[in-house]
Symmetry: C3
Subunit: 291 residues, 3 copies
């Protein structure tokens, strides 16, 4: 008998995310088990319950999703999940806390639709947040030169160091950008800019952006006005403005959702997958190739 | 592909109501997401998760149910839910905390089966509780003269004032009833009496009721002995006693359940409905017309 | 219309058991309602919600499962559940906190596959824990002479007294076993030994066991090394070692799971069942007869 697809939603927040739940159901999950307020030391009993209930041939029909609003908390939960596994006794797991993995993947893929990433120069603004860090990682793996910008140079440098240990031969440069005067040179010669800042913070003023005609793609992941990149509308989806192809958060959102659903479906293909930034990006790349 | 019907159960209690959950499933919900201990300031993230996951053409397949035992808490949650909406971005929502809307609707509809409500004189005992207040509102809209009775006159008066602002031309009178001596004149000339008091409190002694032959319908919503209206059995369903048609809480219950299920089904017809007392009553009236 | 099978999972732990949830789904439950942190005084509202939502002819489609890691807490919840019922107003309920009922049933049934239990001599080590106590009860009902062993004689004696009040004519003996010297005589002449101790405690050294050639069955319910019965592997399933048929925790596990699923399915056959140790054992015996 075909086993029902069971997804165990582990969420560190007070309430388990409705967003994550609806996407899981729309991706074809039969039974969603929601757990909220989950702490790393509580993960073992929960994951053992997933590992020890179905035979090895059915383990791919049970999977774990780690979500919620706090990416660092989600990373700690994913680590606790993978530490439960041994030998073939494991279930597949996906991390998408705060949508960080699917958002970063969708943004980098959107940029790659217009500019070959390999050899490109890309500026990531607010690169020290969870989405920014993931975008830097994915871009570096694709062979882009990445300018890692933050209001604080030391934080930007820490991200460079972390990504350098993950990606062989990563071409990274840390920058401090906290004013039009410091942002302008950061943009000089860039092909792509991705703004991954907090809601309501303008990272790139319009006049600075217009000063650089070399810029081919501008992606703003901020969904709440004012825009992170002035002049980019939240609904922009490959809209050309002053010679630059622009994307806003909603314009990226459709692709992000498709990647999220594909990643959930992928969980149920095998029982040995751990889907974090790179794996989620690979799923998005497969989707592009199918089109 | 047809989207699964997802109902988000928001409940302020320590545990989400099993009653509300079973009714939702019996009304055809495919996936029920239960949230307990929900506070108004936590509603936004949850409802945004319902609003931003499915496209506009599928938003009617996600809905919100606000339940639990505390009607005031439920009202605060429903308000928080509706405040999340903007433009076409919304999902339908139903409030039935403590069964107040479906119970009041079923009681007023039962009365209307036997007496034309328009122009009738109706006494609502314990009218200041959530069910009582809703019964007063529904009766006033139907054109009944409503005597709003409470142990405390000031509370009865407050209900009259609140309902008067909601219902144009409402014919309301506040009364203090806390003894056979004060209840008797309140009943004089009434066609209908509805007792909406707390469990185990006798609001209308048998000898007072029998003294008024004009009384055509007596509805007692108390399910726990002693009866709120002496002589009415909890299972009475249009049982004639001393010339008065009587209903007890269980006698009303079947209709209440039908209205509750119909209201849940209605949620999934469109994405722009907010179902509170009047809307739930209208659903019950439609059911009557179909018979 | 056929009603969906709804199982209400009542769990006293911080998170409701994933293990119990997956087994319930694999047993064919359509909708699982998970409740965690459940206290006995909160049971009434939850169970009333199960009792008062569906008509008498459909009550067998709603059931209660009491699980979690704490058997005493589970027993208190089951008691609170059954106290809600009156007359025909009830739903079926199953207790399997910490797997105690299904594990004890599977162990005693496995022993009975090799030795007629009636008239046998059985030693239960660590007999005062929840699984041990249940094994003693089931063995006594089958007519075995049961040696009830514990590190503390007074606790063993208390179990004997408790079981004696439940099982007419039970043949029970309390023993203190806390060393090879005290365990050896306890094993003398025994046909069966069941070790129901905590993880990682060796209850029966290998040389003591080998000294008793009369021993026909050894069952070790400890899944974490070192074994409770030295020399028994956790995966042993009717493996002969030194003339004794051996079972380890995983070797018993398959049967335990089958009994667990069959018990869940049984819940939905009628609305008046309370499935505790004896009823779960009877379900396992039916399965054996079907083979």
């Amino acid at each position: 008998m075909i086993k029902k697809k069971i997804l165990i939603q582990l969420d560190p927040d007070t309430h388990a995310s409705v967003f994550d739940a609806v996407v899981a159901i729309d991706a074809g999950v039969d039974h969603l088990l929601q757990y909220r307020g989950v702490k790393p030391d509580q993960v073992r009993d929960l994951v053992h319950g997933a590992m020890f209930t179905r035979g090895p041939e059915d383990l791919h029909s049970t999977a774990v999703f780690v979500g919620g609003s706090d990416v660092a908390a989600g990373e700690a939960l994913l680590k606790a999940v993978t530490e439960c596994f041994f030998g073939p006794m494991r279930v597949s797991a996906l991390l998408d806390a705060n949508g960080a993995n699917t958002t970063a993947a969708a943004a980098v893929l959107a940029a790659g639709d217009h500019v070959p990433l390999n050899g490109s120069t890309t500026l990531v603004l607010a690169a020290t947040g969870p989405v920014g860090q993931r975008a830097v990682r994915l871009l570096a793996r694709e062979g882009a030169r990445v300018r890692v910008a933050s209001r604080r140079r030391d934080r930007a440098e820490a991200v460079c160091e972390a990504v350098a240990t993950l990606v062989d031969g990563a071409d990274l440069e840390s920058l401090e950008t906290n004013s039009p005067e410091t942002t302008a040179p950061a943009l000089a010669g860039a092909d792509i800019v991705i703004a991954a800042g907090a809601a309501g913070v303008e990272l790139l003023p319009a006049d600075v952006r217009r000063g650089y005609r070399s810029l081919r793609v501008a992606i703003d992941l901020n969904a709440v006005p004012p825009a992170g990149i002035a002049g980019v509308e939240v609904t922009d989806k490959a809209v050309e403005r002053d010679g630059t192809v622009c994307y806003g958060a909603i314009g990226i959102g459709g692709r992000k959702m498709k990647i999220h659903k594909a990643a959930i479906r992928k969980l149920f293909e095998r029982n040995d997958q751990v889907l974090d930034a790179e794996e989620v990006y690979a799923i998005g790349r497969e989707q592009r190739e199918l089109v």
